[in-house]
């Protein structure tokens, strides 16, 4: 009878882990799932399997998933400014559209990392591993992104909706040519 309750708890935890919106919560639900399943093994009389499941399922894979999520979330933005001297002096306080872009990315569970670069945009595109490269000229703002990145569409939609006065052009590069990460 007891194992029936825990088996139903297993089904519920598995479906809750599938249905969560945030990946971090799904990882925690999976850890709870392995703990309950190790208890079910114990009820069935297999303590050896229960120990292995408890350690591997709820310690090692949970920490591994969390580390992987952390690595996946870093979103590096290169910012190159080739406008006039007046604009260059204003570099200390970042332009308002970058601030709102960062707030948008934080809301989507990413961790934006802004890198100011003094090099021309061609060397950045050729050498660095970027998620977004922003080139600020006198009139226009050119944004280079990777075509396969699924965040790019949301970023474009957001920028066009909120900063339509800024002449923003978005260019999708092919994967592999200039972005290996």
């Amino acid at each position: 009878m007891t194992e029936n309750i825990f088996l139903i708890a297993l089904v519920v935890l598995a479906i809750v882990a599938l249905n969560t919106k945030k990946l971090r919560r799904a990882v925690v639900y999976l850890g709870a799932f392995s703990l309950v399943s190790s208890f079910v093994y114990l009820l069935y009389g297999a303590p050896d399997v229960a120990i292995a499941e408890a350690i591997i399922g709820s310690t090692i894979t949970t920490v591994l998933y969390l580390v992987a999520l952390r690595k996946y979330q870093v979103f590096s933005i290169y910012y190159a400014n080739s406008a006039n001297d007046q604009n260059l002096r204003q570099l200390k306080n970042e332009p308002p559209f970058l601030t709102s872009l960062e707030a948008f990315l934080i809301k989507r569970e990413m961790e934006p990392q802004l890198i100011y670069s003094g090099e021309p945009i061609e060397t950045i595109l050729a050498q660095e591993k970027f998620d977004l490269a922003i080139h600020h000229t006198d009139q226009d703002i050119w944004i280079y992104g990777c075509a396969e990145d699924y965040q790019i569409d949301a970023v474009e939609e957001y920028l066009l909706a909120n900063h339509s006065d800024l002449n923003i052009h978005l260019i999708r590069c092919a994967e592999g040519d200039d972005n290996e990460a």
């Binding site: 120990i51 292995a52 090692i60 580390v67």
Partner: protein, 129 residues
């Protein structure tokens, strides 16, 4: 980790001698109680993994662990080959218990080094930061 929690790092630092002790207990009592080489080795690997949460530095030598794993694997092949497959008769109690404890210990160390290598490969050498 950029923003480490003080409470977690202190508590894990306090806990990991006990986790280490528990891992060796599981390995060395594998012939008499539930547990054994694989489970105890996974507990020992969990010690290194929680150590990564406390202070993520690169002072673990993966190359040494890699050679250690290969040497332990050769030992795991050789010991049963000379002990079990040489005769068909039953051994005495003392030699049997030595064989079981030594094999559990070898398997535990090998599994520990294997899991540690896999985890630190993913943590330090893969993508991102």
């Amino acid at each position: 980790m950029i923003d480490r929690s003080e409470i977690i790092s202190r508590m894990t630092g306090l806990l990991y001698p006990f986790i280490l002790l528990f891992g060796f207990y599981i390995i060395l009592n594998g012939h008499a109680s539930p547990g054994g080489g694989f489970q105890g080795g996974a507990v020992l690997a969990a010690v290194f993994i929680t150590r990564y949460l406390v202070e993520p530095d690169r002072c673990i030598r993966l190359k040494t662990l890699k050679t250690a794993e290969k040497v332990l694997f050769i030992c795991i092949i050789l010991y049963p080959a000379f002990f079990l497959f040489s005769t068909t008769a039953n051994h005495s109690e003392l030699t049997n218990l030595t064989y079981l404890i030594a094999m559990n210990f070898l398997i535990g160390l090998k599994v520990c080094s294997g899991f540690t290598i896999i985890f630190f490969r993913f943590a330090f050498y893969e993508g991102g930061i």
